[in-house]
């Protein structure tokens, strides 16, 4: 096959970038429209007059400040939990010798084949039985372990040269010290990748917070955005304005961690 010409490649790239950016632009345009302007035919590409007031309106129509705090707490708990469980389990699967290591690892991996929706109700019943519904602990508790994270960390730890650990053993380091002072610092890019994905997953999670929280005080941002959309009425500009605010922290996070992200995925030989 001949290489596509420079022009063709450029067209393909522009098309791909457009496919990513158009929904964003549409979201921002809609967030500035009047409520009925959205329904004009053909729909306007940009509001006749940008309604900045939609933002204030959307964010005060519901207690969004509270939602942001809840989503932040939820996401940070998930990040901390997944970093700890994935790093320790991944290291154990990569480096420690114990009976049934391979079988246990395959068992872990096999859970990836179960769709998340299938275990949604059992998870709820479990959290409910522990009387943890509508609490931060209940919200985060079943999200603290990520099999994907364990896999990612295992692959990363396997790439740490064994001689480094041998050298540390001779230097007098015990298993925990080798994990903490030698292996862990060398898989930082993978940790950053995992942290970012865990944060994103939690931040944009809608279904689980919707099910496990009841009160307004425990809602997350996603649930708040979704609640602009009811059976008989949807305020599109408000919903889009809230969505713009909700993606802002994610974009910022991406901007700061992109370097680690690509490095981490590159190092583990996993394509995103």
């Amino acid at each position: 096959m001949t290489r596509p010409s420079r022009a063709l490649r450029l067209v393909m790239l522009v098309a791909a970038v457009a496919a990513m950016l158009v929904p964003f632009a549409w979201m921002i345009a809609t967030s500035g429209m009047e409520e009925l302007e959205v329904f004009q035919d053909p729909p306007p590409l940009w509001p006749a007059e940008f309604q900045g007031g939609n933002y204030a309106g959307a964010l005060t129509a519901q207690p969004f400040a509270r939602y942001f705090v809840n989503a932040g707490v939820f996401a940070l708990m998930v990040v901390a939990g997944q970093l700890i469980t994935s790093a320790t389990a991944g290291y154990a699967f990569a480096r420690l010798d114990f009976r049934g290591r391979r079988g246990l690892f395959l068992l872990c991996l096999s859970t990836l084949m179960v769709p998340a929706v299938v275990i949604l109700i059992p998870r709820f019943l479990f959290v409910d039985a522990l009387e943890l519904t509508d609490t931060h602990v209940g919200l985060a508790s079943t999200e603290l372990v990520s099999v994907w994270g364990i896999f990612l960390m295992r692959q990363s730890f396997r790439q740490v040269p064994r001689e480094l650990e041998d050298a540390a053993r001779i230097d007098g380091a015990g298993p925990w010290r080798i994990f903490w002072s030698i292996a862990l610092p060398l898989v930082r890019p993978a940790m950053a990748t995992l942290a970012l994905f865990a944060f994103l997953d939690a931040w944009k999670n809608l279904l689980w917070p919707l099910i496990v929280t009841r009160s307004l005080e425990m809602r997350t941002v996603e649930v708040g955005i979704a609640s602009f959309h009811s059976t008989y009425h949807t305020n599109w500009p408000y919903q889009m304005a809230a969505a713009v605010v909700a993606v802002a922290p994610v974009l910022l996070l991406f901007a700061f961690t992109q370097r680690f992200l690509t490095q981490g995925l590159h190092m583990t030989g996993i394509k995103g």
């Binding site: 001689e163 050298a167 002072s181 610092p185």
Partner: protein
Amino acid sequence: MVTTVSRPPAGIALRGLEKRFGDVVAVHPLDLEIAPGEFVVFVGPSGCGKTTVLRMIAGLDDPSAGAVWIGGRAVEHVEPADRDVAMVFQSYALYPHMTVRENLAFGLRMRKHAAADIERRVSRAAGVLGLEALMERRPGQLSGGQKQRVAFGRAMVRDPQVFLFDEPLSNLDARLRADMRREIAELHARLGATMLYVTHDQVEAMTLGQRIAVMRDGRLQQYAPPLEIYRQPANLYVATFIGTPSINLVTGDIVAPAQAAGRAEPSPCLVAGRLSLPLASQQSASRRVTIGVRAENLRVVPPGDSDFTSVVHRVERLGNESLVHLDGPLDDPWIARAAADWAGRAGDAVGVRLDRQHTLWFDAGDGRRLE
């Protein structure tokens, strides 16, 4: 600068040390004594088990059978950290996320040395190895030779009873290797510590070792000082492994006096192609014999007065000497050393004379040397 070890070096004894991986025997039962302060080199091709022996001494691998004694105590159940050994790895194994200073200090910190003591030992090692200017760099910013020095330094600061080196120079270029070889020898002279050194490089083995252990397929072939290994190799394998250019070999049959009558030999002799050598008494124990002659024990002479006649194929002029490639008794390639200004050329018909005193006799069956 004078640096001395604060404690006497330890001797090492290996008693029936064996390592199996499933059905594969990596190291056959091995018995070996290493004197305190001695420099011993394990040499052999890759896969001969030499590194496995080193790792068992370090405590990084558990033996399948047998025992390691260090400084008069069995260390079977002693953790690597508590064996008082330091190891320099082939890949250097420097911690990439730590500076040179932190790399040097890590082992001392693990052993809870006082900060002042750590500082003193680290700067002493840095001084000896010329690392002062590199202390705040990370391994990624160092050249191969510098990394090697840091790896030595990390071993030195601990002041261990035993140093273990696992092919430490194999990643360096030839020139740097020669420099580092000299530095290691000086380090040994200065520290007086017991050192075990694993290599596949016979030059390193010959130049560094006070005694050399030649390994092959997990078995010890010979354990002796370098010159003895060179002059009195235990078997054909050791004879061919050590020495450059490789020893010249030819295999022939022992022929009784009657059969040899046509050649007018009064006693039994070895007949191999154009060569016929009378035997000393006990050498007749085997029927088929291989003889080995090193290049410096061959003399290229005019065709008349020689042990066999030959033809020169190539002359390598090295400046200090010439290497003459010629036909062996069975037309197999042999090499003889000659003077730098030796006048012969390719195509010359020559005679070759063997130095009988330094001709080595081996049983062609099992390869062992015949006295």
